[in-house]
Symmetry: C2
Subunit: 215 residues, 2 copies
């Protein structure tokens, strides 16, 4: 493992590349044209396959084949399976996070805490409906990793902060964890699919729990 995969790097700064030689002018460099093209192909193929068959049914070999690329290429670009999943998630999650920090008032700052909680719940549900399976796969392939760093901890912090505004006396951190649990990918997809609950009913119950617990 001597060449770090770019993993969550993506936009802006380029992480991968030779240790020193960066040519100061021009802009991207550091990555050959075929490399970025192949990266794109892999991402595209992975998204397609995962959506079609469910992430657990897709092996890394399949992704490589579908992308018309060798397995080595996939691994060099994304490090490991987890890296590929994360790369697929990165955009959507960062987008939500940005909206939280500097978006329009219902979701972003400016609205009363209760409404922000409500808006956040809606946004999270939407994200789960769209990428739930992938988030789930990412959690499965690296148990416990998600809670520690990354998107989850940002969400938790956000909820905890809003809760603390509403109920200064409560243990906001623990409460936030409990309120977020049904929105863990595994719980959500399990309830939607295996238990066969429609989205509206689940959202209804969640809203009830969130709002009564918050006040």
């Amino acid at each position: 493992m001597d060449e770090k995969a770019d993993q969550v790097a993506a936009s802006g700064v380029v992480e991968t590349g030779p240790p020193v030689a960066l040519p100061v002018l021009g802009q991207p460099h550091t990555q050959r044209a075929d490399a970025v093209r192949n990266r794109g192909r892999v991402l595209e193929a992975a998204a397609r396959l995962f959506a079609a068959n469910g992430p657990e049914a897709v092996a890394m070999d399949d992704v490589a084949d579908a992308a018309g690329v060798g397995k080595g290429t996939v691994y060099r670009r994304f490090g490991d399976r987890q890296g590929l999943l994360l790369a697929l998630l990165d955009d959507a999650e960062r987008e939500l996070q940005d909206s939280l920090l500097s978006g329009e008032p219902p979701l972003g700052p400016g609205a009363p805490p209760k409404e922000r909680l409500h808006a956040f719940l809606g946004a999270l549900v939407e994200l789960l409906e769209q990428r739930g399976e992938i988030i789930r796969a990412s959690e499965m392939s690296a148990p416990g990793a998600r809670v520690r760093g990354g998107a989850y901890s940002a969400w938790h912090q956000h909820v905890a902060l809003l809760l603390a505004e509403l109920r200064a006396d409560a243990d906001a951190a623990a409460l936030a964890h409990v309120l977020l649990a049904p929105l863990a990918a595994e719980s959500w997809t399990g309830l939607r699919r295996s238990a066969g609950l429609e989205r509206e009913r689940l959202v209804g119950a969640l809203e009830h729990v969130w709002l009564t617990s918050a006040r």
Copy 2:
């Protein structure tokens, strides 16, 4: 798969055995002495290894070796990995279920719904603290299977019934799912270990959510 493993059979009736030949008298028969002895050894070895190293770090080969038995034996007895995990869980889960249906009042029938909910929450937490890792492994090795049948659905039904008594207007089924989500093995162990939350804080938050949502 022409010979069903005994899996969750256990006490009383014997599931495994020859299709027809049952000798009417005597009692257990149908299973040779060395078979039951080996079954015991496997169960014991599995419990030991899982507790020591965590279930995910233990391969079926390891279990077989530690039990002083061939791998084939393990698979004939328990069908597959999931079957072994389930067998390990069976006792504890059935015990809780019995207490729910016909136990002493705080947990069993006779107490007011709110108190029964509280007692059930406590019992479930205790079970998770003790077997959380194994339950978790069982859910990981067969995603979604647990929600459909077995212990979870019994718990869900119990909670939903109690909730319906308290709030006839609410969607008790959906609400019960949401309230149980933090007690899914993956969430619970994730919060306890990865997030580093102490049991009391978690229980405190859970009690708050459960009780405010119920009334």
